[in-house]
Amino acid sequence: MAETDPKVDPLSPENKLIMTTGPLTGTMASTGGRYSVVTKGPLTGAIACSNSGGYFGAELKMAGWDMIIFEGRSPKPVYLWLENDKAELRDASHLWGTTTWHTEETIKAAHQDPQIRIASIGRAGENGVLYACVINDLHRAAGRSGVGAVMGSKNLKAVAVRGTAGVPGIKDFKAFLKATTAAKKVLADNAVTGQGLPKFGTQILMNVINEVGALPTRNAQDVQFEGARNISAEAMHEKRPGDGKSNLVTNAACFGCTIACGRISQVDQNHWSVTNNPKYWGATGGLEYENAWSLGAANGVDDLDALTVANMICNEDGMDPITFGATVGAVMEMYQMGVLKKEQIGIESPFGSAQALIELSHMTAEGRGFGKEIALGSRRLCEKYGKPELSMTVKSQEFPAYDPRGIQGMGLTYATSNRGACHLRSYTVASEILGIPVKTDPLATDGKADLVKAFQDATAAFDSAGVCVFTTFAWTLADLAPQLDAACEGGWTLERLAEMGERIWNMERQYNLAAGFTAKDDDLPKRLKTEPAKTGPAKGRVADIDKMLPEYYKARGWTAEGVPTKDTLKRLGL
C-alpha cells in the first residue's frame, strides 16, 4: 500500500509491478528458487501476488538483486537486461508481437549466452488479456490475476538476467546446511513429496478428487467427470496407440527442488492439433492437475494430447490456463443454452469439443475474433451476454479444480482469498482429503474457519520465504523456521513466522478494503450455493459458505463486515 494507491487503475502507468525473491531463494534450501510478481491485478482489481519456480528467481538473486520495482510506462517496447550490477533497458521492438518461446530464444542468441534466465510475456500480455501471466524458463508461470497484462501495459516485454555474483551471506552456514539437509530428508521420506509428486505430479489428484465428487465439471454443473480417467496422471504414463509413446517424458525440478513434480510431456506428432505445427512436437512443460481440469473437465474435454497442446499454447503466449479454461467452460454453457451462436464464436462450441478448445486457445492468445472477448475472463463475458450467474468466480477470478460442494473448506478458501478465488493460499485439500497434517471431514463445516486461517497464515510465510508451497505436504512451519533462522538475522522462531504470515494476510486484506472490496465480495458463485451436487459422496450438498464466513471473521479478529479490528491490527503491529 505504501507503493501503490489501492484505487489505481491496474493497467495505468500509476500501477507498479514488483518482482521479488525470498530470503531462501537461490540457496540450497529445497525448492528455494521462487520469486513473486506483486501488483494490483487487472482481472480482480485486488492485490495480485503470483509466484513462480523455474530458475529465473534464483538467477535474479545470484545477480545480486532481491527485488525490482517497475514504475510508469515505457514509450516503446523494452526488455530489462541485468548482468550482475549492470541494469539496462534495451529496445524490444523486434520482440513485440512474438511469443515467450521466441523471446527467450532471441534474447539468449543476442547475448550469446544460453545460461541467461528470462521472464517474459507473450502476445496475451501485450494484448491485455486480463489473465495474462509472466512466463519464465519457457513453461513456469507467475500465473494468476493477470500480472502479465500489467507487465504488458508498461511496454515491458521481458526481464533477462545473468547472475555470476552468487548468494553469499548465509548467517550460519553449518547450521543452515544441517537444517536444509534435515528438511530435505523430511521431503524424501514423505509419501506425497517423496513418491507421489515425483512419479505422478500434481495430476495424481485427478482420479482422487473425481472419486470424492469434487471435480467441477462442465462449468460446475456436475461434480464428477466421466472422462477423468483419460486425462489423469495414470493416462499420462500409458503408451498411446498412435506412436506407442507415453504423453509423459520425464519429471523435472525447478531450481533447488528435491521433489521434482514438474511434468515434461510430448504429444503425438500425428495428433490432429499439431500435424502442421512442428513447434509443438518437442518435449515441454506438460499438464498439471489444475490445467488438466480447467482445459479438460471444466469443458468436458477428455483428449489428453489436445489438453497438452492447449496448455502449451497458454505457456507459449503467457495466459493463465485456469481462468482461460474456466472461461471457455462458461462460453460452452452459453453456446449450449443458445445465448451464443456459432457465428459469434466462429466455431461450434459444445461441451466436450477439443477442436473448439484448441481454436479458442489460438484465438485468445493471438487476440483474434471472439478470443478478444474470452480475454476478458468469465465474469465480464457472462455479464455482457446477460448471464452473470454462469461465471464461476470470486472477486472476478475463476476458482480452480476443487468443488466447494464436495470439499467445504475450499469454499471458504476461495471466498476469502485476497487475490480472488485460488487454491494456493490455503490448500485445505491437504487436510480434508489427504489427511495432512490431520484428517478433517471434507463435507463438514465445523472447524473449517480455524483450519483455513491456519493454512492461510502458514502459506503466506512459506511463499514469502521463497520456497514452494508443495513442501507443506511434508513440512510445517517447524521445518521452515530453522532453515530461515540459520540463513538470516532476526531470530526466526515458529511463533514469529506464524505471526508474520498473519500480518501479511491482514495487510493484503487492508489493501483490498482500501481498493473498495467489502464482505459482499467474500462470496461464492450462486450455483455452488443453490444447485446441489448431483452425484458422488457429496450428492445433495451445496457449499455452506454463509455458515463458515462469520466464524472465519471471528477467528481472524475481524468485524462482522470483514474489517480487521483495531485490537487485531495492534496485536500484529500494523
Partner: protein
Amino acid sequence: MQKSLRIDANKCTGCLQCEMACSYENHGAFNISKSRIKVFNFESAGRKVPYTCTQCAEAWCLHACPVDAIRIDAATGAKVVHENVCVGCKVCTIACPFGTINYVAWSGRNSTWASADWRRSTWWPRRIPRSIRSRPKTS
C-alpha cells in the same frame, strides 16, 4: 587414490543442488556459475544431463590453449585451469570433444578470481577483466 564422480544422467531432474554444493565448497557462496559440475538442459528432448571434466589422458584443451593457462598439477596429476592466466579466448571450449569445459563471463571482480582452489580437478576457465586481457601473463 584417484576418485571420480559417477553420474547417472537418467536420474537428473535439473534441481542444481549439486552445482550449489560445488560452488559453496569452492567459493563459500551459492553461485552456480562457478560450479565445476554443469547441468545441461536438452529442452526439446526433455533431458537434463550433468557434465564434469573427464580429465582426458590426451587433453586437447591443454594443447589448444595459446597462453598455457591449462596445466598439469604436479602433485595430483590433474589438469587445471589457471584463471589468472586465462585470456578468455574460448579456444579450449572448441577443442574439448565432450563440451565439458565452460566459459563464464565475469564482470571485473578482480579480488576473487585469484583465490580459486587449484587442487580441484575439474576445469573452469573464465574471462578476466579487459584491462588485463590485453597483456596476458605467461608465467
